[in-house]
Amino acid sequence: MIKVLLFAGMQERAGKSEIQLNEPHLLVSEIKRKLETQYDFPQMFTGCLSAVNEEFADDDTEVRSGDVVAFIPPVSGG
């Protein structure tokens, strides 16, 4: 199982902060496509970064069961 975390505006649009995917492994890009279909939101990840296990990752980063994927909308701290 892969855990996906959503934040800020994305979290509000999805209506949840956490999604579980019952897959042994996926690429980050595959997770994005899955969620865009599921939430019928074609540009859901525009401007978004990805992190796997709290480290920034790319679209082609492989994610395995047990990993935590987070989508990071443009940050605005400070």
């Binding site: 975390l5 934040f7 800020a8 505006g9 509000e12 525009t46 401007g47 978004c48 970064l49 992190a51 709290e54 920034f56 990752a57 790319d58 987070a70 990071i72 909308p73 443009p74 940050v75 605005s76 701290g77 400070g78």
Partner: protein
């Protein structure tokens, strides 16, 4: 004593400063971000900050490592608050101590710029007639080229 911290509580400036004061430091520069009432002509009623807490603390530590590497004998501490903050409340305190003053200014400036680039914290502005996650629109900053790790100013 955590030098890099996300908290839901009021931040004590003195407490953050005390984390970096030491016998070889002669200078401490502190940056304090407060909630401003008017932004682009709109009156903010309050702000809400949210963070991906474990990663945010990791990224703050990373900024600390970058500063330690760039400014010799410097020491850095950063506390960022999350939750709802009213006007004039403190959202972030950065403190950097160095042996000589010029470096403390440079390093502290670097820290706040990096926070705005690589730390997963989000701010939602609330006005009397609405609210918006800052950055969550096409007209504001969005990342186009992958991770921001390499985008930091080289000083």
């Amino acid at each position: 004593m955590k030098p890099f911290e996300i908290t839901e509580n009021t931040i004590s400036v003195q407490e953050v400063v005390d984390k970096v004061i030491h016998p070889d430091a002669g200078a401490v520069n502190t940056f304090i971000g407060t909630v401003r009432e008017m932004t682009k002509g709109k009156r903010t009623t309050y702000l809400k900050y949210e963070a991906y807490i474990p990663m945010a603390e990791k990224q703050l530590s990373k900024i600390g490592e970058e500063i330690a590497a760039e400014w010799p004998d410097s020491k850095c501490a950063i506390t960022h608050r999350i939750g709802e903050l009213g006007i004039s409340e403190i959202a972030v305190v950065i403190a950097v101590s160095t042996p000589h003053r010029a470096h403390s200014f440079e390093a502290c400036r670097y820290a706040i710029e990096r926070i705005k680039e690589i730390v997963p914290i989000w701010k939602k502005e609330h006005w009397e007639d609405g609210s918006m996650w800052v950055g969550d629109q096409l007209e504001t900053t969005s990342y186009s080229k992958g991770h921001p790790e390499s985008e930091g100013e080289s000083k």
